[in-house]
Each structure stands twice: as structure tokens, then as C-alpha cells.
């Protein structure tokens, strides 16, 4: 199991980035009770047979590392959801893309902490490859309420680049400011 839910989401988004997606959408909906996550891509997708195999930690497509026999991304999702009374689902069609849905019970003591969401978004927005990405966060709890929704292309346009440490530092400042509650 990953240390935080954000780490798990980063890991699963990496799969989309490597599936030749043109657009990836990562959406996080949070209440006091649960966190629902959607990761949608229009990448190469998986056949039902491959999807079935992907839940086995001793399966990998063997493209990235020819002699490797393990792939832990999806098994970690299944393990985390099933050990903490959460739920998960993967819908995939070859040539059309994949949608991963997960719901985590935040009241379950075994659910890992959510982690730092602006850091997660910065991380996935700076993944290699130029695909479009949409990040959405909606939080509606007793203590805080906010939402934001951005496209990677708009952020790239505003910053002029996402490559340098300077760009990435500004990007984090920007994302953190979206969660500011001190009044607009």
C-alpha cells in the first residue's frame, strides 16, 4: 500500500501518461466521509484479458522493463480499496481509453492519509510528454469548501513553461493559493 492516497493517484496517473493518452483528467471529490477519485484517459486502453491480468501483481506488459515480472500500480489500488472498505472500478476499451474510479472511506482507520493534493497536481502536471491534462478538486467538508478546475495548457500558457524548478515552484504557489480560505 502507498503511504498516501496522493501517491497512489500519482502512480495510476503515470499509467495513463504512458498509455499514449492525448488527454488525462484527474478529479478528486472530497467530503468528510469519503474521497472519490476519477482518472480518465483517452490512451490505448486494455482488452478485457489484459485488464484481468493487470490486477495480478506478477503481471506487467514487459515493454518498459523487458525482464521484469511485477507490476504493482493497479494491485496497490485494489489492496488499498479492499483493505479499507473502499471501492474501485476500471473501465477500459482498447483504442479508446481507460477510466479508473475509486472511493475511499475517510472514516476508516486503515485508510491512508490523503496527502498533499497541490503537490500531487504539480507532480502530475509536470509528467513528461505534452498531453493535455485537466485537474479538478472539489472539497466540501465541515471545515473547508472550495473547488478548482484547470487545464494544463492554460497553466503552461500562463507560465511559459513547466520545465524549470522556478516554473514548478510558481505552479505550486498557484495551486496552493486555490485552496486558500482566507477570503477572495
Amino acid at each position: 500500500m502507498h503511504y498516501t492516497l496522493c501517491d497512489l493517484i500519482a502512480d495510476l496517473t503515470q499509467n495513463s501518461a504512458e498509455a499514449q493518452a492525448k488527454k488525462i483528467t484527474v478529479e478528486l471529490l472530497e467530503t468528510d466521509k469519503d474521497l472519490t477519485v476519477y482518472i480518465r484517459d483517452d490512451g490505448k486502453g486494455m482488452s478485457p484479458e489484459v485488464l484481468q491480468k493487470a490486477s495480478n501483481p506478477f503481471y506487467t506488459d514487459g515493454i518498459k522493463h523487458p525482464k521484469r515480472k511485477i507490476g504493482l500500480g493497479i494491485p496497490f489500488l485494489i489492496q488499498t480499496a479492499s483493505d479499507t472498505e473502499g471501492s474501485w472500478d476500471i473501465q477500459s476499451k482498447e483504442g479508446e481509453g481507460t477510466t479508473v474510479t475509486a472511493r475511499f472511506d475517510l472514516t476508516n482507520i486503515d485508510t491512508p492519509p490523503i496527502g498533499d493534493v497541490p503537490l500531487l497536481f504539480r507532480q502530475i502536471l509536470t509528467f513528461p510528454g505534452g498531453c493535455e491534462m485537466q485537474i479538478i478538486r472539489k472539497k466540501n467538508t465541515k471545515t473547508s469548501e472550495f473547488e478548482y478546475d484547470f487545464l494544463r495548457s492554460d497553466l503552461l500558457d500562463a507560465l511559459g513553461g513547466l520545465e524549470t524548478a522556478g516554473d514548478q515552484a510558481l505552479l505550486l504557489d498557484f495551486l496552493q493559493s486555490q485552496e486558500d480560505q482566507s477570503g477572495d
Partner: protein
């Protein structure tokens, strides 16, 4: 910090442009590539990445350093792994780069031009791989 709009972000970026152009004239850039496979993430590579960015910013060299992420580099036992490319220095892959080690890499390798001997991972030479 009050909520920033995309326009404000663009403006903030614009204010820094002069500074960046001056540095670009040097024509040499630093590259830091952090392994972000399942293994890297599990070992805390996100903290490493964050540490590099904030230390580079603190040292005032954030705009000369390119930060990239890559998948698993195949050395999962030594995650987080980081490749550091600095002009006039050998390309090096460091292992077990925690947030603290990342700070050391910036201070000693990038600024001090000295290798961190204990963190270097061996890479098989090309003649071995070809056999």
C-alpha cells in the same frame, strides 16, 4: 496567500522574465531527473522532488535547473534514484536520495562541483550491456 487567477500567475511570471533572460545567456543548464515509478513513489520520491525545487529556489538558481520525472530506472532497491546532469561534471545517478540528500546534492554537487561518493550508484559499462 489569496487565491491567484491565471492572469496574476502570468503577471508574476512576467516580472521574473528579465532575470531569466540574463541567466539563459549563460547557455548552460542543470538537469535533475527523478525516478517516479511505483518504487520511487513508495520510497518518497515526491518529497525528494519537492526538496530539489525548494532548495534550488532558496539558492536562487531555480530558473537554471530543469526538473524532470521519469519512470522506474530499474534500481528499485535504491529508490529514490535521481540522475543529475551538470555542465562540466560527469552524469551521475544517485541512489537513496531522501529530501535531506537532495539538499546535499544541490549544495555539494551542483554548487560545489563535488560528487557525493556514498550515494553514487554503479551503472554497468556499455561493453557489459552489449554482451
Amino acid at each position: 496567500m489569496a487565491k491567484m487567477s491565471l492572469e496574476e500567475l502570468r503577471k508574476l511570471r512576467g516580472e521574473m522574465q528579465g532575470e531569466i533572460k540574463r541567466r539563459e545567456a549563460d547557455g548552460k543548464s542543470i538537469q535533475i531527473i527523478v525516478g517516479m515509478g511505483t518504487c520511487g513513489i513508495a520510497a518518497g520520491a515526491k518529497d525528494t522532488l519537492d526538496s530539489f525545487i525548494s532548495v534550488l529556489k532558496d539558492k536562487g538558481i531555480a530558473d537554471t535547473a530543469i526538473i524532470r520525472q521519469t519512470g522506474c530506472m530499474g534500481m528499485c532497491a535504491n529508490e529514490p534514484t535521481v540522475e543529475v546532469i551538470v555542465p562540466d561534471m560527469p552524469k551521475v545517478i544517485y541512489g537513496n536520495v531522501t529530501a535531506e540528500v537532495a539538499k546535499e546534492v544541490v549544495e555539494k554537487h551542483i554548487l560545489g562541483k563535488t560528487l557525493l561518493d556514498k550515494q553514487i550508484l554503479d551503472r554497468p559499462s556499455i561493453d557489459i550491456i552489449n554482451k
